[in-house]
């Protein structure tokens, strides 16, 4: 399928309905079975797919409906990570997890998620995974001599899974690394771990770096200037950053990045329920186009829509698509 100019996509997660949150928590309380929860998840993923399709998104995800949060879904799958299952009251809480020995190699079971997505849409798809730096920051390391070595080993274990995803037909894999922004001093080895993760993966890869979205608020503040020059060593094709909430103060950074990467530009603020108009979206895209060429730009929200009510998330994505169409028309003349 040929993508239009300025393809629209999402960062990964879609609005998490209150009823799904309650059912997930019911599962933790052992009041519903795994089988029931799986069926609920399948239904929620189909609904998230449909909403993205109706909104007109060009490249869609499964909405990450199966995930409690961006850390635990992977921590639970990484062989050798010990999880304290009593450590959370609410599904969105983070588990206390730790690693006591070298991580063994084993499949993570992500391919089935992708196959389900692929089977339920004709659109272009993207599959998102949490990156090794973010995982190393949240899983307590009681074995490796350094966080750096721990992150690189996580990447080593996850790399075959990404290759399997590519074999299963995943053409675009996004790695989420928001913790880069909180720990800019780690960028050198964070990128090194990222490169281990994507090595030999036969798919387009991108990295998403925002300032966090836990509970729908930023976890850190600062400037994307920290990305230079370290991020230029990342062996990925695409870089996606948040600009809607933060305004254009860091847009200048795009200039130095656009020669090296396709750029995903965040034009929807997911940390507020205030609605962007298509005109505002178009204006944000035009500003980015002053710095980077349209042929290498993707349009998306600042981060996942997890914390937005469904109607708000849908309306924001719709506005994003409409705003993008305005700019496409202008570019066509």
């Amino acid at each position: 399928m040929t993508l239009p100019l300025l393809p629209t996509t999402v960062v990964g997660s879609y609005s998490m309905p209150g009823w799904l949150e309650r059912l997930k928590t019911e599962y933790f309380a052992r009041r519903i079975s795994k089988r029931d929860l799986d069926e609920v998840h399948d239904t929620a993923v189909k609904a998230a797919i449909k909403d993205q399709e109706i909104a007109g998104i060009d490249i869609i995800t499964d909405g990450e409906m199966r995930r409690d949060n961006m850390i635990d879904y992977f921590a639970e799958r990484l062989p050798g990570v010990q999880i304290d299952h009593a450590s959370k009251r609410f599904h969105y809480d983070l588990y206390e997890s730790k690693v006591l020995g070298k991580l063994p190699m084993a499949p993570l079971g992500l391919v089935d998620d992708f196959k389900f997505l692929r089977a339920n849409t004709d659109r272009e798809t993207k599959y998102c995974v949490t990156g090794p730096h973010s995982l190393a920051k949240r899983i307590r390391n009681e074995h490796y001599p350094s966080e750096e070595e721990f992150a690189v080993d996580i990447a080593r274990v996850m790399n075959p899974e990404l290759k399997e995803l590519a074999k299963a037909g995943a053409e675009f894999i996004q790695i989420d690394e928001p913790y880069y922004s909180g720990f800019p001093e780690d960028l050198r080895w964070g990128v090194q771990a990222l490169n281990v993760l994507v090595e030999g993966v036969n798919a387009k890869t991108g990295v998403h770096i925002c300032y966090g979205n836990r509970y729908g608020k930023p976890s850190w503040e600062g400037s994307y200037k920290f990305l230079l020059p370290g991020i230029l060593n990342a062996n990925v094709q695409q870089l996606t950053l948040e600009f809607a909430r933060r305004g254009g103060e860091d847009l200048g950074v795009l200039h130095d990045l656009s020669a090296r990467f396709e750029l995903g530009v965040g034009v929807i603020d997911v940390k507020t329920q205030s609605m962007e108009t298509p005109e505002l979206v178009a204006e944000r895209i035009r500003k980015a186009l002053e710095i980077t060429p349209a042929g290498r730009m993707f349009i998306l929200p600042d981060c996942g829509c997890l914390h937005l009510p469904r109607d708000v998330a849908f309306a924001k994505l719709s506005a994003m698509v409409q705003g993008t169409k305005i700019v496409r028309r202008e570019l066509r003349g």
């Binding site: 209150g18 309650r22 609410f90 983070l94 949240r138 800019p184 300032y211 966090g212 836990r214 509970y215 729908g216 608020k217 930023p218 976890s219 850190w220 503040e221 600062g222 909430r245 940390k271 507020t272």
Partner: protein, 483 residues
Amino acid sequence: MILQLNHLQGKPAGVTTHEVVDALYALLEEGHLEEDQFAHLRVHLDWIQYRQNFRECVMAIKASPGRQDHSPAFELHIDVRQATPGGLRARIQQTVGELSGESQTGSEPVLLEEFRSFRESVAWEFNRLYWHRLPDWEQFTGRGYEQALPGGKSDANHPAAVADCVADFWTLLKDLETRKQLPEEIFILEIGVGMGTRSGLWLDRFRALDRGRGTQYYPRLKFLLGDYALSTLERSRPAVREHLDVCSFVVLDALNPMKNLGFLRHKILHIHLTNVYDNLPDEEIARRDGELYAVQVRAYVKAEDARRISKECHIAVADIPRTVSRLLEGGPDYLDDRHLGVAFWQEIWRVMRLEERLVNLDDLSDVVLPEGLDRSKLEELVRKAPSDVRFHLSSGALESFRNTLPLLHPRGFLQVQDIFVKSFHEYRLGFHGPGKLDGSIVNWVNGVLLREVGERAGYDVHFAPFRYREGSRTSILYTTQRE
């Protein structure tokens, strides 16, 4: 009969439990209480900490029929601080009689509203008027509102507490600077500024610390003093006169500071409030014998008080409700003579009482919950609470809290000095409001619900005792970011 003793503070009581029980038995034997009534009677003995409050020292509360047969017919609440043994039996008999519609002609109270949630009561209109027309009130009484506080001063201004707060804040700034994450402009917000005393103390202390350590943070400060009354903000200026270059004065609604300060979303490094939450609209829920009830109130003035005010203020008794409405709309100038207007206002406020009733709820889905409070979470908390409990929903405090958090910088923190109930169990240990403080309302705040709302917004909520003054009931709520 169930007798519930809530006054466990060891304070001197005007009547003993024995005297209360004797009075009730006498009324039963004399036929003023029916056996069935007596069997279902629930008597609460409280030592009410606020001398000025909205209750008679003997108050009856009727409950609407519940789904079960054994719902309480009514409750008696006796303020053992103000009740006296001599008149106790007569007061109970009169109160029970009034509840049964047996009051004498001419003794009917003047009603100021129909039954409604406390949140919507006219009492809050009085509270609003007080803050908007504080100078009028103070001029008439001849004393400032801080002098009217218990002890005559506010815990907000305790120098050691302010010094600790400044030290914590300076440490945060230093840490951010070390990580190269310190913003160019350092925003701080004080909501509810009073006379500006705390803000002045805070700024003096911070400037001294900054100069002493040579960190140059003070010139980068943007200190916002926020209050919903322009007159209050004006009064606070002299207290910060040495810091006007770094201060801004902002009229804002404490229920939703985002309305005026939305442009500072995620930018404010420290927000502080003192005794604001205890002065925001509230409502209560009760559980009795497994049934849930909404507590509804109705403001009234007793007949004898109405007659006296009528005489003193030259207003017909029948005109009192309408005059109150106009007072609340237009202030004391509505009456031709401002002096008379303030006198009417203060007198009505002093004698105004709230009649209460319990309205049965099928479940909590019948209640409009403050945004941010998850219904299933509240149901879980109530399930775990003591079986018979009456608790605040703290709607205004929760609304304010939820609408303030988005202003915080990711590394910023919120501090609230106030009176908090920190577990549902505490509600069984005494009366928690509302009371009257001069012309305003004071009410304990449900810290358990604040904790829940905070968690869902990404903050852990902690309570520390106010250790700077012995015997203080104040706690300090502070937030930390949830991982």
